[in-house]
Amino acid sequence: MQLETSTVMEHELAGGDYRLLTLASQRIADAVLPGQFVSLGLAAPADAILRRPFSVCDAGAGRLTILYKPVGRGTRAMLALRAGDSLSLLGPLGHGFPMPPSDAAQPPLLPVLVAGGYGVAPLYLLARRYPRRGLLFVGGATGRDILMTSAFAALGWEVHVATEDGSLGEHGRVTTPLDTWLAACEVDAKHDFFACGPTGLLHAVAQRAAAGGQRAWVSLDRHMGCGVGACLACVQRLNNDGEKVWGRVCKDGPVFDAARIVWE
């Protein structure tokens, strides 16, 4: 974990209301692993106390990109950031997705990514670094919430889209194309799920993984205080060998084995 003063390099529309913000980073960009996040210290609004957490969408060579959606005071203030502006960057934070060693004897299982909205962000870094290509299932309310699909396709990943209003891809939730695909899989086919998005989506993936005897890794989104494990604001109930314990989403997660999560 490092604290850097970082400079905005690029800030561009990513589709819909979403923005891609690229920051210069001396050390965090090189250290970050897929599924980890950073927290931004913003100068505005002046009465905001907390940093804002964002998954790292892409990183390397002294650059780090996040994909964000303006939803509240902090993210709306971020819209005013321009190239050259500086902000405080803390990271990498938390534990990301488990990555198979690239030199493993066994090839990794087929990776199946499931995303909603800005959930594609950590999955894109995963796709870039994963030793095997796989599939991305991505859903959203409308076509405006479907982001970065061509970037995944450019990496050679197979992309399936669903929107609730049917404006892009299949009509329905992301589980519609996912279930179609699962039904067509061989009965004993093994794959690993990686998911990021709204809780309902994560839960749906966890259920399918459990039903099929597969593993699923889900990235949780909780309102955070410190982002580093110190304040205990972001806790999530986990199963710990039958006992229920609190996990800190910021430090013990944000990525958890879906089987450990107590869904409420």
Partner: protein, 311 residues
């Protein structure tokens, strides 16, 4: 502005026999057990670290949501989640002992006997330098806060802890009282070595769309810049009422707020919520106090503490 010839100012202060290299501590509940922030805020630079509140048995804390941001502050209802005193000693003291930082353990209980027992267990634990006695947590239904708003109960807790430890003890007072001086005096008389104030202020946030409290605990405690001018007044009053050192807490987010506390009469300060926004804020505050002392030709903290000029 810096007079380069002058020797560097000495920021050391002594709180109940405990010598701190500078008057800047990090506040309980906002800096975990040190390990969480150690990468970005070298612990050895701190005056002291006050760890998250510790009780006799492990405590699960409140349901979520536990924290909400409001303009100029936070309202939290963590509910004192902690691994219990033995868990704390086993899990965190080995790490903390290896750091050259005084460790102040914040303790709490639901009954006076619990406070006494936690204090007894910590007495003699290597690396534990002092106890901060939390009689003011707004977030647990029973105990905690009631001790901080009743003079006799506050004194009783402190006396019980006093009887069970040789460590310096500093009760942490509740802000929502009409006469803070009386509380400071009561705990001084009961054997406190210093007095810390303020804890977060009882508060509530309502989600108007759902018409529900935002926090699962219904209410919580307000901290951050919002409460700073209130804390300065209370610290000023407490410092005039007692002989023991006062520790100023509430809304410190830079050198200016820390200096206000020190000038008002505090011998040390704690930084809470501001750690979340800037994990290195304590370093900035320490440096800022030193700069200020240089600019004002002050050589030791004696020149600064209580230097308020009220005509």
């Amino acid at each position: 502005m810096t007079k380069t010839a002058a020797p560097p100012p000495d920021l050391a202060v002594t709180i109940g026999g405990l010598r701190l290299r500078n008057p800047v501590m990090v506040a309980s509940g906002t800096f975990g057990y040190g390990v969480e922030y150690a990468d970005v805020m070298p612990l050895a630079e701190l005056g002291a670290i006050v760890v998250k509140g510790i009780s006799l048995a492990p405590c699960a804390g409140n349901a979520t949501p536990r924290l909400v941001e409001v303009p100029g502050g936070l309202v939290n209802a963590i509910g004192l989640q902690n691994p219990g005193v033995e868990g704390f000693i086993a899990q965190y003291m080995p790490f903390l002992r290896r750091r050259a930082v005084p460790v102040v353990v914040n303790i709490w209980g639901r009954r006076i006997e619990e406070y006494a027992e936690v204090a007894a267990r910590l007495d003699g634990v290597p690396g534990v330098h002092a106890l901060e006695v939390n009689i003011s947590c707004p977030n647990i239904k029973d105990g905690g806060h009631v001790f901080g708003t009743r003079l006799d109960a506050a004194a009783a807790v402190v006396a019980a802890v006093r009887a069970n430890t040789r460590l310096p003890i500093m009760p942490k007072l509740a802000p929502n009282v009409s006469d803070i001086a009386a509380f400071a005096q009561a705990v001084e008389a009961a054997g406190a070595d210093a007095v810390a104030l303020i804890n977060s202020y009882p508060a509530m946030v309502i989600d108007v769309e759902t018409r529900r409290p935002v926090l699962a605990n219904v209410s919580g405690g307000l901290s951050g810049p919002a409460i700073h001018p209130i804390a300065v007044k209370l610290v000023y009053e407490a410092a005039r009422a007692v002989q023991i050192p006062v520790i100023g807490i509430g809304g410190v987010s830079g050198p200016r707020e820390a200096l206000e506390f020190l000038i008002a009469g505090a011998s040390a300060v704690q930084i809470g919520s501001a750690n979340f926004g800037d994990p290195a804020v304590a370093g900035r505050v320490i440096e800022g106090i030193a700069d200020y002392m240089r600019r004002h030709a002050m050589s030791s903290m004696r020149d600064l503490i209580g230097s308020l000029n009220v005509l």
